[in-house]
């Protein structure tokens, strides 16, 4: 995966580490395919945290995220023969997890929609007037600590389509290259780029009333331009 905003030195060091890890991943894959089931353990232990982070951000809850991680590894094991040894196991498992998380989100949405009664829906959508009162605490840290704002952010993420959420998580938080996002979404790179754009736009529309003005003031006070992302979208 391509990460963003890094210095040349740290990029080189990271690439060297990634290359070593890929090599040992490839050995573990070969050994697993040769019938050594325990060799797969190395891969599970090495990539679980990364998959959990992705799964949590995509599903929004720990229980679902843990299930996604486990299922992703089970699927990877069952289909290990289809994995080309020249590819990166981490990226491959990451894609499996992302795809499974998308399926799970869609399934959950359908179930939720079926379960949700009209009155419950209206109640959920009802705006608490207190939520509209501007918060005097200005920093993003404090804002995120604000329970109400946190709920708003979680809700805004929940309202993204599964593709939009995937694109946002992979691009903004995981720093994935657009080609990688396109591969997971099974779309073209320009469609994936549009999905990233749409997700950010929707989040902005939903959250700006709560954080926009204060954030702008704070940024102005800081006086520096926000650090843009470094690698190609």
């Amino acid at each position: 995966m391509i990460r963003m905003s890094e210095s040349a030195g740290s990029t080189q060091a990271r690439e060297a580490l990634q290359s070593a890890a890929r090599e040992s991943d490839a050995i573990a894959v070969e050994r697993t395919l040769a019938g050594e089931r325990d060799a797969f353990r190395v891969l599970v232990e090495r990539h679980s945290q990364q998959l959990f982070r992705l799964a949590y951000r995509m599903t929004g809850n720990e229980h679902d995220a843990e299930e996604v991680v486990q299922e992703a590894f089970l699927r990877a094991y069952r289909n290990l023969g289809q994995f080309g040894s020249r590819a990166n196991f981490g990226t491959w498992a990451y894609r499996i997890a992302a795809n499974y998380a998308i399926d799970r989100m869609r399934q959950k949405r359908t179930e939720d929609a079926r379960r949700q009664t009209p009155s419950a829906l209206a109640e959920e959508q009802e705006q608490d007037p207190l939520d509209l009162v501007p918060d005097e605490r200005p920093t993003p840290d404090r804002l995120a600590g604000n329970v109400e704002l946190r709920k708003k952010m979680e809700q805004a993420l929940k309202e993204l389509s599964s593709s939009e959420r995937t694109a946002f998580v992979m691009r903004h938080w995981e720093g994935c290259a657009i080609e990688e996002i396109a591969a997971v979404l099974k779309s073209t790179t320009s469609a994936a780029k549009n999905t990233v754009f749409r997700s950010v736009q929707k989040l902005r529309r939903a959250l700006e009333p709560y954080v926009g003005a204060r954030g702008a003031l704070q940024a102005k006070a800081a006086g520096a331009a926000p650090e843009p992302r470094g690698t190609e979208l």
Partner: protein, 263 residues
């Protein structure tokens, strides 16, 4: 002055390199666009501060402990599976049967051209009878073992059926070929039994490797519900009888089992 579009601002913030320098230059001189970018930045920064539950280095071990009992003995090999020795054994066995049937047909070609077709067909049928008989015998063994498997001991939570699964999977390839051959040769009764057997073998092959007593019982009930053991035994017997009668005319399996199947 023409302001930046929202798409350009989002692209710039999220690492878009197209026209990057131009956008950066515009931002230094346009307060309105700069404010827009700040607003966007505020939203994204707030999102960045959403808590992310930590999973320590021991998490990978915990995941392994959870999935290890569910992993089949061998990892899925995809297309590589076609190069596995067991596949070649099945394919080789089928090829041998076809060649044997062909050669036998050629050798047994009677000088008297009165009844050539019947003789060739007889030999081919005999070869198939032997192969299918053997296949049914092996299948019966696997199903018998599963049907008679006892629930795990009190201290043991699950029973491992990996060995039976592997054998069921090995038998599936041959079963498909025999079923198709039986269908093509018009032996509907044999094809029916092989079709039922295929379903049960698939069921076994796709069951979890570790079964709880309840799941084992459910699998045993499914085997029982198909009545497959009985059918396999009856057809196996019929085929044995055919093997014993050297000059029997080729005839479809009479299979009482097939009849029962339909009933």
């Amino acid at each position: 002055m023409k302001h930046l579009t929202e798409e350009e601002l989002i692209g710039y913030r999220e690492g878009e390199t197209t026209q990057r320098e131009g956008i950066a230059e515009h931002l230094t001189s346009c307060t309105a666009c700069r404010t827009e970018l700040d607003r966007l930045e505020a939203v994204l920064s707030a999102l960045d501060n959403l808590p992310l539950p930590e999973r320590g280095p021991e998490y990978g071990r915990a995941v392994w402990q959870k999935i290890a009992p569910q992993l089949p003995e061998k990892a899925g090999r995809g297309w590589r599976a076609w190069f596995e020795p067991r596949r070649w054994v099945a394919i080789g066995a089928m090829a041998a049967i076809v060649i044997a049937a062909f050669v036998a047909g050629r050798w047994s070609k009677p000088r008297d051209s009165g009844a050539p077709a019947a003789s060739v067909a007889q030999v081919r049928e005999r070869v198939l009878v032997v192969a299918v008989g053997e296949h049914l015998g092996k299948s019966e063994m696997v199903l018998m073992e599963l049907a008679n498997a006892t629930p795990p001991a009190p201290g043991q939570k699950q029973i491992n059926i990996a060995a039976e699964q592997q054998r069921a999977e090995d038998l599936l390839d041959a079963n498909r070929l025999y079923r198709e051959t039986a269908q093509q040769s018009g032996d509907a009764a044999l094809a029916d039994v092989l079709d039922d057997l295929e379903r049960v073998l698939l069921d076994v092959a796709h069951s979890p490797q570790e079964l709880t007593p309840a799941k084992l019982e459910s699998l045993q009930k499914r085997i029982e519900a198909h009545g497959i053991l009985f059918k396999v035994r009856v057809v196996g017997k019929e085929l044995q009888e055919k093997q014993k009668t050297p000059n029997s005319a080729p005839a479809p399996t009479e299979s009482k089992a097939g009849g029962r199947n339909k009933a």
